[in-house]
Amino acid sequence: MSKKNIEFFFEPGSVAVVGASEAPGKLSAVIMESLLSSGFEGKVIPVNPKYSSVKGLKCFPSVSEIENGVDIAVYALPASLTLRALRDAENKVKGAIIVSGGFGEAGDEGKALERGIKDIVKETGIRVIGPNCMGIFDAVSGLDTFFIPRTRIARPQRGSLSIISQSGSFAITAMDELASAGVGVARVVSYGNKTDVSEADCLRFLSEDKHTKAVAVYIEAIEDGRSFVEAAATCASKKPVFAIKVGRRGAGSAAALSHTGAIAGNYEAYRAAFRKSGVMELDGYEEFIAACKALGSGSEAKGPRVVIITDGGGMGVSIADACAEAGLEVPPLSEDLKERVREGLPSYFSINNPIDLTGSVTDETYADALDKTLSDDSFDIAIVAALWGPPGLTDELPALLSERAQGIKKPVLVCSPGGAFTRSKAELFMKCGFPVFQTPEAAVKAASILARRAPRRKG
């Protein structure tokens, strides 16, 4: 099989949409709409023998009729028609994204069709993403083959986090959630049945991709474990890679002939593979999103020492407890630092860690406390739990915190538990680029993910 790099998929000069149509509700119509309205600057070429034009663009009966060929073709055809259409593209395209289902996941007939795709890949050298996938959402180039309308699933802004996922629905759900949280992405790939392009191909590409600063991976099953470990290790040596593995059940076999066989299930092998390659494993969806928010913000922690700043003592202690549970350190402030933070504050403020700024807090005291503690060498991460009760807090707080934290280059995580009013204020934090978490636990999970990345765990 050709080991051609898959880079060309992400910033193609031209894209053919095979099966293009304007009929509302058709996948191809959504894809056409996305490509034409998402800021994608490449050429879009509809292909469908039934039409002479689609969306005002000249429509070709077959990819083979496109004179100079195209970089990639997106196939949104019934499974039974896909093979023939893919063969037509020989020598005309470098890569194909087959979003259609009805292949290996759909019984014997589908399996045979998928083997057919594999053969075409071998014979023609066309690289294939899918089938049974969403394809690519690329915030760098604007390429968007995700066939769910933007009114239903929002696309995140451009950022530095890339996501690769076996599951399309997981990818779009995470994307939608990140879009709401103000977290940007670079490349999102949903590769479905991965007949050709696998997670290892994607990881190899992302490890070299200058637009990607962190990689999130959703895994159901990996076929070639050793090639995954190799690609993941290369990528993780350059940037944080974190993964969620689902389908963990199925422990060792009870009928095993050794103790090892009885204890070691397939999941233990995945965990060992993550460990060997330096991939951080995440426990469940909540932690996955927390990690995306933390690493998507682009800041890196140099260690596990957390300063907690709040105006509600209870929330501060609760965060401190969660930190201890997660293996993070919440060290006390040095006498010298205490002295500096205390300057200009009323004597009843509790200057410890957590720092409780009480109901007398103002925007300025918050910003001061954050600035002085986080810029001190004794801390790596700040968790700011702003509770909106005190009258001294205004809508200026997020911008002020952002301004004062800017030069420090250490992660600041905002924990913002509360109801409707608080949630509306959370938006202000997001606009200023802060990762915002609803609960102490989620904020602490994010902090611990940043800290885990800090001293590279080996051995």
Partner: protein, 233 residues
């Protein structure tokens, strides 16, 4: 390690249609790999056992050899600390009866007469071959309650020495090797070597599906693999 000799042993077992290797063969694989094992021989009858015993010397261990019995001690198939020929005769008679009673359908291939290893800390070192990822190596606190305690750690092979040490420090039972409650400090270096050897055997002998030493006895100096099993593909 003598990979060729191990291959021959495995191929012969496969040609006999075996799915598992009985203890003596599994230990032979270890011996051929340089893992210390007690001196032993399989006896088919009592007079043979007495002869072997005279060569090895007392005290001795007597163990049933059967591909069908996973937990030998559960069926009365292990007798420790046999001090002389008279005791050997008694234990032999007792074991034949008990095993026949407890595990009537198991095929008995003989009885292993083995040098009695001195007491030491017990660890388990095992490996399974995962279909996707290849050899997965396990280290843990050994003994009969391994599955109950699950005080184990895993790494994917092939292992580096750093990974082998990492596996050891990760389990709670590591304290038993490092002077817990007045115990002496054990030969951790030697344990790491055995972990690495199990990893290497799995890399080189691809017909092995599982390999397990339980327990590996760990002393102040050196180790001894007193029980082992192997599962074939």
């Amino acid at each position: 390690m003598d990979a060729q000799a191990i291959d021959r042993l495995v191929i012969e077992a496969q040609s006999l249609g075996r799915k598992t290797l009985p203890e003596p063969d599994a230990k032979e694989i270890l011996r051929l790999s340089g893992v210390p094992v007690p001196r032993s021989h399989v006896a088919k009858d009592l007079s043979g056992a007495v002869e072997i015993a005279a060569k090895i010397g007392y005290p001795l261990v007597l163990k049933v050899v059967s591909p069908d019995i996973l937990h030998k001690s559960d069926v009365g198939g292990v007798a420790l600390g046999i001090r002389n020929a008279k005791e050997l005769e008694e234990k032999w008679a007792e074991m034949v009866l008990t095993v026949a009673d407890e595990s009537a359908t198991s095929m008995i291939e003989g009885f292993l007469v083995e040098e009695m290893a001195p007491k030491g800390a017990e660890v388990i070192i095992g490996a399974v071959r995962d279909e996707q990822f290849g050899p997965l190596i396990m280290f843990g606190t050994g003994g009969v309650a391994v599955e109950l305690m699950k005080d184990v750690s895993f790494r994917l092979g092939p292992l580096s020495k750093k990974e082998a040490i990492g596996m050891m420090t990760e389990v709670k039972g590591f304290a038993l090797l490092t002077g817990y409650r007045g115990e002496t400090f054990k030969d951790i270096e030697a344990v790491a070597e055995i972990i690495l050897m199990v990893s290497q055997i799995m890399e080189e002998v691809v017909a092995l599906k599982e390999l397990e030493i339980n327990p590996l006895l760990v002393y102040e100096r050196g180790v001894m693999a007193v029980d082992a099993r192997a599962v074939l593909k």
